[in-house]
Amino acid sequence: MAEQIKTHVLVLGGGPGGYVAAIRCGQLGLETTLVEADKLGGTCLIRGCIPSKAMIHVAGQFETMRHAAAKPVHGIKLSAAPSLNLADTVAWKETVVAKLNTGVTQLLKRAKVNVVKGWGTMQDGKTCSVKTASGDIEIHADHVILATGSVSTELPFMKFGGDVISSTEALMLDKLPEKLVVIGAGYIGLELGIAFAKFGSQVTIVEAMDRILPLFDKQLSDPVKRWLDKNGVTVHLGAKAKMLEKGRKGSSLVVETSDGKTVELPADKFLVTVGRRPLTEGWGIENMAIDMAGRFVKVDDQCRTSMKNVWAVGDLVGEPMLEHKAATQGEMVAEIIAGHNRKFAPAAIAAVCFTEPEVVSAGLTPDDVQTQGIDAITSVFPFAANGRALSMAAGDDGGFVRIIARKDDHRVLGIQAVGAHVAELSAEFATVLEMGALLEDVAGTIHVHPTLSEAFHEAALRGLGHAIHI
């Protein structure tokens, strides 16, 4: 008979939703067991946000050096072209991942969370059997937090394997593909596509919609499109990937372009980034009587599922599939189990893209206010008029900050930005929205000079009709 464990809280999945829930449970003195088959940290830490940012960072440095080798850049001239050993880059990235993974492991330990390494399968609402290296364990819990996350969506006619890769494999290549085809121009495809273009791959992007970053509005995605065009990345919009043709010399992707023509795109690797889907199979969901909401697990505003004392958080419960949403929900569920009165009702969940340039969006967009019939002020301030942006040669990428506020009482409804390093502005954007700030509040806050955040201040002033620096 398998080893039996009794625990107060069982967390299934060691990603940002699960491990944060487990740490908080531990802090609150709840007996907690976390089940994870892979390394702790989940998609974000192991094969998503963090490793991709590490690769993007190196890609940017390499690109700068390549440019300096071609011709002097701001006085820097390299006598020879830099060379890239991608395997070493990946190895460095792994050290970053390892550091964070160790950190999470220690935090869980300090919170006295019992971590069980192995694949867990729910037998019923409160029982989980885990296959570990040293045999089966059966865990009985009073509360279960489901945090199984999501996986990359596959194209039915070109399954992952061989030259067809997902973002996970793209971050582990030991050799730079000479030619890379990216299918899907969402944020993952563009972040990685741009990074590989900076490394020197010849990148072609195929997108079924009529523009890139379809989840953001055109004004926001235009500077990214400009960068792609300027840097020789071919983008096929309104184009459908039809099939992968394997020839003697290599494979090509057959694409039906927007004008109905068929083109073949030969490449070394085919990166499929057509979205992510919640992981709702393989862990015994069929043994639990929980309601679904479409492809997601249905939860209320406290992340309760339809089953008593079974909770679910993160990518498993719906859009947006973002680390910070999962972590917030995980923390909240732990507190609710501990008897606190909480609910998940954020004013805004900001989203960022580490494209070139970066994109950030929080709250309502111009399309949203139009659809909702809100009489709104939309105010834009360009980074071309921001000293800090100019001083890091980021004033001419078409970047800007945009604020949308209600016309009658000036409450800020949404904030977006595109430009170098704007992801770091997301914190102020989210704070302003959460605090219920008005344009006057932003305008009345002294913003440090010289920083990019001054563009936000100026956008608020402009919304009030009196920008200074434009």
Binding site: K343, V380, F381, R406, D408, D409, H410, M435, G436, I470
Partner: protein
């Protein structure tokens, strides 16, 4: 390319200024010749201003509600050809605009100013600039999502308080910790989730009194300020009149209009007024002259979607019942549709104000200055009255009226109303010499 300055034209006799009611173009619009530019309102009517030329709007002057003097530039257009202003004169016309004539206005209206100008910024597209005034509604409007920081929201959640019910004292109705404290301090009567059925309503709305509403306000103040009103009410037995009216409506030709009580009252007035010339009059108190009129032009107080307007049935003395009814219907409809012209809205010598079935028991109508009398029939109700020595159920109606005591004495007014009453009680007399 040249610039064309569209100035407020002289919109009517003696009009020195007009109120801008609504803009139909904005800076940046490309417009055609004859395109609707702006609505302006004079004492009498709202006038649609159309563009004499095609072009692109580069400036608009004056916010809705502000007064513009005749000759003030309203719109500046960029046009093909030379335009009517020198290019280097740019906005000189606007700056040099004479200040609005304010002699009669109780408070000087603001000078026309540009609402918006295209931004000169080279780096970005011009963005709409707020025309927001420096006032913030004290609290959020009913149905608005409550505005509060995460800490306040969490505290409310813990206390089981729904923020929808909490009044916010911060900007845009933002709810502070102090607001939550105040809400809690109000005690058990304070609405709690699922508890109280009665919810306090919060919030107030500021409505700018502009356009027709301002006109009405000004006229009413003028009338009450200048005229020492007195009211006189008597009751009229309209049983016979109502029988006659019902019969006429039953037997009328299809092309004839349905008769209300108004044509009968008008008939009574035109028969009696020749004997009371001081009542069918307009009193120009600035010069101390009463104008007595032989014709009877009767104003008909008419409720429209925007407010009260008084169109006029001219020469009521020369109209029979049917004709008067048709004319009332015509001018009232034009007025409700906003299409009544200056002629339909001016020249009345006495006014009738009727609320029909809503007429109530008694009203004290405000005289339509510079007239000197106004007649307000009240609702018709069946009442037990002593009639020929018996108690009978009769259709009774009060007739409320107001007079200008400066030129109409109470004795005369009473006599006048008694004569009208006599005719209405015995309607055959309305049609006999």
């Amino acid at each position: 390319m040249g610039r064309f300055v569209f100035k407020l034209p002289d919109v009517g006799e003696g009009t020195a200024e007009a109120e801008i009611v609504a803009w139909h173009v904005a800076v940046g619009d490309t417009i055609k010749e004859d395109q609707h530019l702006v609505d302006v309102m004079t004492d009498k009517a709202t006038v649609e201003m159309t563009s004499p030329v095609a072009g692109k709007v580069v400036e608009v002057h004056g916010e809705p509600g502000s007064m513009a003097p005749v000759g003030a530039p309203l719109v500046i257009l960029e046009v093909e050809g030379a335009g009517n202003e020198k290019a280097n004169g740019a906005s000189k016309a606007a700056r040099a605009a004479p200040p609005p004539v304010a002699a009669k206005a109780p408070e000087p209206p603001p000078a026309p100013k540009p609402i918006a100008k295209p931004s000169p910024a080279p780096a970005a597209k011009p963005e709409p600039v707020s025309t927001h005034q420096d006032h913030m509604p004290a609290t959020r409007k009913f149905g608005d999502k409550p505005l509060a920081s995460p800490a306040v929201r969490q505290r409310a959640q813990e206390l089981g308080i729904r923020l929808q019910f909490v009044q916010g004292s911060g900007p845009a109705g933002r709810i502070t910790h102090a607001d939550l404290d105040a809400f809690i301090a109000r005690g058990p009567n304070a609405p709690t989730p699922g508890g109280a059925q009665l919810i306090q309503r919060e919030g107030e709305e500021e409505i700018k009194v502009i356009g027709l509403r301002r006109k009405i306000a000004e006229k009413m103040v003028e009338s009450k300020r200048r005229i020492p009103h007195y009211a006189y009410v008597d009751e009229v037995d309209v049983t016979e009149l109502e029988d006659l009216r019902a019969n006429l409506n039953e037997t009328k030709r299809p092309d004839q209009p349905k008769l209300t009580l108004l044509p009968f009252i008008m008939r009574a007035l035109v028969r009696v007024l020749p004997d009371f010339p001081q009542i069918n009059a307009r009193f120009d108190d600035e010069v101390g002259i009463v104008h007595r009129f032989a014709p009877v032009h009767i104003g008909i107080a008419t409720q429209t979607a925007n407010g009260l307007i008084v169109p006029v049935v001219h020469h009521a003395e020369a109209r029979d019942l049917w004709n008067a009814a048709a004319e009332i219907a015509r001018v009232a409809q034009l007025t409700r549709d906003g299409k009544a012209g200056k002629d339909d809205l001016s020249g009345s010598t006495i006014t009738i104000t009727s609320l029909g079935a809503l007429g109530g028991l008694v009203t004290t109508p405000v005289i339509n200055h510079p007239e000197v009398a106004i007649i307000g029939p009240n609702a018709i109700v069946e009442r037990p009255v002593v009639h020929n020595g018996h108690i009978a159920v009769r259709k009774m109606m009060n007739l409320s009226s107001s007079f200008d005591h400066r030129v109409v004495d109470g004795y005369d007014a009473a006599q006048f109303i008694q004569r009208v009453k006599a005719l209405l009680q015995h309607p055959a007399k309305l049609f006999m010499d």
